[in-house]
């Protein structure tokens, strides 16, 4: 096996270097680096729990080799908002009761953010399609859809006034 390589990563605005073997997935690297908000559900690209943004676009980190994202901008759900400073999607998920066990939530929020980046005024089909790679076993998706619709409106409003 090839040697580990020092890879420059930008995660949630923080620049760091990590020694990474060529076959390591981004999911493994992120969790090794302490980004536990990136969840492992299947390691096969079936469930979407490990989704992160690469330059604003949602990808399954379990299907991405870390070497391939060197120098790109990575964002986890904690990078969207944390503590007192919540992202509108996070606020909407909390207020709508769209979170149950919560294991799929980071991936759902990442997938929704990726969609809203290019489709700020999504219809129901846009939302369904955007979330179709993210499995949730608890909520039946109904409150998730409502939260995404609501957050989209808040974000559009924010853009107008901001």
């Amino acid at each position: 096996m090839a040697e580990k390589k020092l890879i420059a990563l930008e995660i949630n605005g923080r620049r760091l270097e990590a020694s990474v073997p060529p076959n390591q997935t981004l999911l493994e690297s992120l969790r090794e680096l302490g980004y536990f908000e990136v969840k492992s559900g299947c390691e096969k690209g079936d469930c979407g729990a490990c989704a992160v943004l690469v330059d604003g676009e949602a990808i399954d980190s379990c299907l991405t080799l870390t070497w391939t994202v060197e120098g790109r901008r990575l964002t986890t759900v904690a990078g969207l908002g944390s503590g007192e400073h919540l992202h509108p999607l996070q606020t909407a998920f909390i207020e709508h009761g769209a979170i149950q066990c919560g294991y799929c939530t980071p991936g759902l929020i990442i997938a929704a953010q990726s969609m809203l980046d290019t489709t700020p005024n999504p219809n129901d089909e846009d939302i369904r399609l955007a979330l179709s790679g993210n499995l949730c076993r608890c909520t039946g998706y109904t409150k998730v859809f409502a939260a995404v619709r609501d957050a989209a409106a808040v974000m559009r409003e924010g853009k107008r006034s901001g």
């Binding site: 536990f36 096969k44 207020e95 009761g97 066990c101 919560g102 294991y103 998706y141 409150k143 998730v144």
Partner: protein, 774 residues
């Protein structure tokens, strides 16, 4: 039976301020930002990584196993095979709280000789890295001699079949004999008999099983694990041979359970490995191991023979249920008990025979799954109600109304139901909410279906269920709740906060809830059987009420009033008729603290206890109470491809009292999606016991593209045994969904598919029958 009088005392008609509001759950922010740590998010320095070697055959004899090459691999710290273990078994019986003798149904922790199912654990390895542990597994040499197996429960009952368990493969057999069945059939104008089959189903929680264990300075085995049951610490201690007070289980937020994390998962393996190595050990299942590693929902074969008069009165019902228990007993005896009780559904059946049998096979063992046998029964009894109505040319809902069980009527087990039975109200509201019917458009046919149910909440009464909780007030006026309850995603913990906040007159944000630690939080029992709110909610209610009483007494003195004139709300104590006379909560607490008034309480809530039911007749009480409700759906069926689209999905349930209506709606919506998968797409497929659906791209749970906007209708009879009159909703939400969909498909295409899941293939086959599509 003798319930404490308090169960049935009328509730005080005071205004509720926290209970009943759709508050944001206390666990939501951490989950939304990713700061919540789940079982797999805990690591320790120097931690070893464990892996499990599993049998590639479903029925075999282990002739030889040799771990010497694995042990010799640099970085391998420890291995275990069956030969390294004593004869202690891993208990598989339902966890008790009373110390009563458990069923003699254990499983070897690792195979010693006989392999009974595909994936049965053969060996354990702990190594410095997961990669080394995996390599070590590959170096383990073993010889398995294949043995004849049996993979169908009806086959397994035949005398010539291979024996998997006991002397005849029957792991449990129960019956109900109520009324006079022959007389009932004699009074019938028509007798209608059908058989229904259900499939193996996987919980498919998003978080695979995971745990981290270490031995501390006091020789205590600590295990941080994703589980519904922290009180397995007793079983783990027994299995590894240490006293009960030397195993500590710390839960974490659980990434979904649904019954699949009710039995032991990784705990015993971790306990063995950490004890042998004296190092921290982590064990993380892959998705495939998760599918292989825990019990499934029982497949049932159910035959319903219904006697009915021309005008739609059911005069007799004979039900035969055969359940595939798989290779080990686990909770099968209890699962078929639930099926037995649920068999007639929410209907008054005076002449009833039910025979339920759980049969061992070389399939994966089956155990707890949301609904616990009663879900399968509902698939059959609600399909049968539609089939009988159709045969008699009666309207489906009118036929149901004619036969609904009502308060005071006798249940299947011949004892009366005492709480509200609002099945009719739920069915009517769910059906009305379907609104205007979507028109057909060739080749798509639209159909509608409804299903009603009865589902218990609370554990089987002879398990003597109890729950403890501690509620206390810190000197700064904040409130602490301590409860061993685990939160598997339904908001179990947040609901406890709402109850404490209500009774102490503070807001939910003033309450901190510490949970699921067997050494520091009072033992609250399992998060199973739709009991968490009922039992633990009541324990918190009792503890908070005791503290409240002392605060009220002290504030009454301060306000020169009597305790009955004082209420607590908005973080103050005030005189009800003169709210300008008040004292701030903080000030009141400081007053109590300075006078040594006890500001905390440890309470125990005890469910009503009974003896077991009569084994000959099934007579007696099985559960403390039941939830009733209905689900209505509209589906579109493409008659060319057999594809089913669920257009509308509406659940209506009498939850007694919704402590948090948003959480209740969440349960209903989640149950609707899970039931939809059960009806249409989910099946764990085994070929000669070998699992062939090994991933979430082969085992198909509903996605965001499949599920319609689900509507929840919450009714509140306030008649439940839970806090503030609550019933349970966790399991109930799922129960009627699959049969409602099955009935809608039959309504659409005019012919019934008797087996779940109702796949496109089965629909196309059914449509090819000569009598279909008249």
């Amino acid at each position: 039976m003798s319930e404490p009088a308090e169960y049935f005392r009328p509730l005080r008609p005071t205004e509720l301020r926290q209970v009943g509001r759709p508050l944001a759950r206390t666990d939501a922010p951490g989950k939304a930002t990713g700061s919540t740590r789940y079982g797999g998010d805990y690591t320790m320095p120097g931690m070893l990584h464990a892996k499990v070697l599993r049998s590639p055959l479903a029925s075999a004899r282990l002739r030889r196993i040799d771990v010497s090459k694995a042990r010799a691999l640099p970085g391998v710290a420890c291995t275990f095979t069956g030969a390294d273990l004593s004869d202690r078994l891993a208990p598989t019986d339902i966890p008790g709280q009373t110390g009563a003798k458990r069923l003699d149904t254990g499983q070897s922790i690792l195979v010693k000789e006989r392999v009974r199912y595909y994936g049965e654990p053969l060996a354990l390895v702990a190594a410095e890295t997961p990669a080394i542990a995996q390599k070590a597994l590959d170096l383990i040499e073993y010889d398995l001699d294949a043995l004849p197996g049996v993979y169908d429960p009806l086959e397994a009952l035949k005398p010539e079949s291979p024996i998997v368990q006991g002397s005849n493969n029957i792991v449990a057999q129960l019956k109900i004999r109520k009324g006079d069945l022959d007389q009932g059939f004699a009074e019938a104008d028509r007798v209608i008999e059908n058989s229904y089959r259900t499939q193996f189903v996987e919980h498919a929680f998003l978080e695979p099983e995971v745990g981290l264990a270490w031995v501390d300075e006091n020789d205590v085995i600590n295990i941080r694990v994703s589980t519904q049951v922290i009180e397995h610490f007793r079983s783990i201690a027994d299995a590894v041979g240490v006293p009960h007070n030397k195993v500590r289980i710390m839960g974490a937020m659980v990434g979904g359970g649904f019954g699949g994390k009710e039995d032991l998962t990784v705990e015993i393996y971790l306990a063995l490995l950490t004890r042998a190595t004296r190092r921290p050990v982590q064990l993380v299942y892959t998705r495939e191991e998760s599918f292989l590693g825990h019990g499934k929902r029982h497949p049932f074969v159910m035959t319903y023979r219904t006697g009915v008069t021309k005008d739609g009165a059911i005069t007799a019902l004979k039900v035969t249920i055969t359940a595939d228990a798989g290779a080990y007993v686990f909770l099968s005896p209890y699962v078929i008990l639930y099926a037995l009780v649920a068999a007639p559904g929410p209907y008054r059946i005076d002449n009833l025979h039910v025979d339920a049998t759980a049969v061992a096979t070389n399939n994966m063992y089956t155990s707890a799954f949301r609904g616990f046998g009663a879900a399968q029964a509902c698939v059959a009894y609600e399909a049968q109600m539609d089939e009988v109505a159709k045969a008699l040319d009666l309207e489906r809902m009118a036929f149901r109304r004619r036969n609904f069980l009502r308060t005071g009527d006798k249940l299947a087990t011949d004892v009366p139901i005492e709480s509200a039975v609002w099945t009719d109200e739920c069915m009517t509201k769910a059906w009305e909410a379907l609104g205007e019917r979507t028109p057909d458009s060739v080749p798509v046919k639209v159909g509608r279906g409804v299903a009603c149910y009865q589902q218990s909440y609370g554990r089987i009464m002879w398990l003597h269920d109890t729950s403890e909780a501690w509620v206390g007030i810190e000197v700064d006026g904040t409130v602490t709740v301590r409860s061993g309850v685990t939160d598997i995603g339904a908001g179990q913990i947040s609901a406890l906060g709402q109850i404490a906040a209500e009774l102490l007159g503070v807001s939910l944000s003033d309450v901190a809830i510490y949970h699921s630690d067997s050494s520091t939080t009072p033992l609250a029992g399992t998060t199973t059987a739709t009991r968490a709110l009922y039992m633990t909610g009541n324990a918190v209610r009792l503890a908070a009420s005791a503290v409240r009483e002392r605060l009220v007494a002290r504030s009454a003195k301060a306000l020169r009033a009597t305790p009955s004139q004082v209420d607590l709300a908005n973080s103050r104590a005030f005189v009800i008729d003169d709210p300008d006379r008040w004292i701030g909560f903080k000030q009141l607490v400081a007053l109590c603290a300075s006078e040594g008034i006890h500001r905390s309480e440890l309470a125990l809530f005890r469910a009503p206890f009974t003896d077991k039911i009569d084994p000959e007749t099934g007579r007696g009480r099985v559960h403390p109470d039941y939830t009733y409700g209905a689900h209505a759906v509209e589906v579109a069926v493409d008659t060319e491809t057999g594809e089913v689209t669920v257009l509308k999905s509406i659940g209506a349930h009498d939850v007694g009292r919704a402590i948090n209506p948003a959480a209740v709606a969440g349960q209903i919506e989640g149950g609707a999606a899970q039931g939809q998968g059960y009806a249409l797409s989910e099946e764990m497929c085994y070929q000669e016991g070998r699992l062939i659906t090994l991933s979430l791209s082969e085992y198909l749970i509903p996605t965001a593209m499949d599920v319609p906007q689900i509507e929840s209708i919450i009714l509140e009879s306030r008649s439940g045994l839970g806090p503030f009159g609550a019933k349970g909703i966790g399991e109930p939400a799922l129960i009627p969904v699959a049969p409602a969909i099955a009935n809608a498909v039959a309504d659409a295409i005019g012919v019934r598919v008797y087996d779940l899941p109702i796949t496109p293939e089965r629909i196309v086959m059914a449509l090819r029958q000569p009598d279909s599509m008249e």
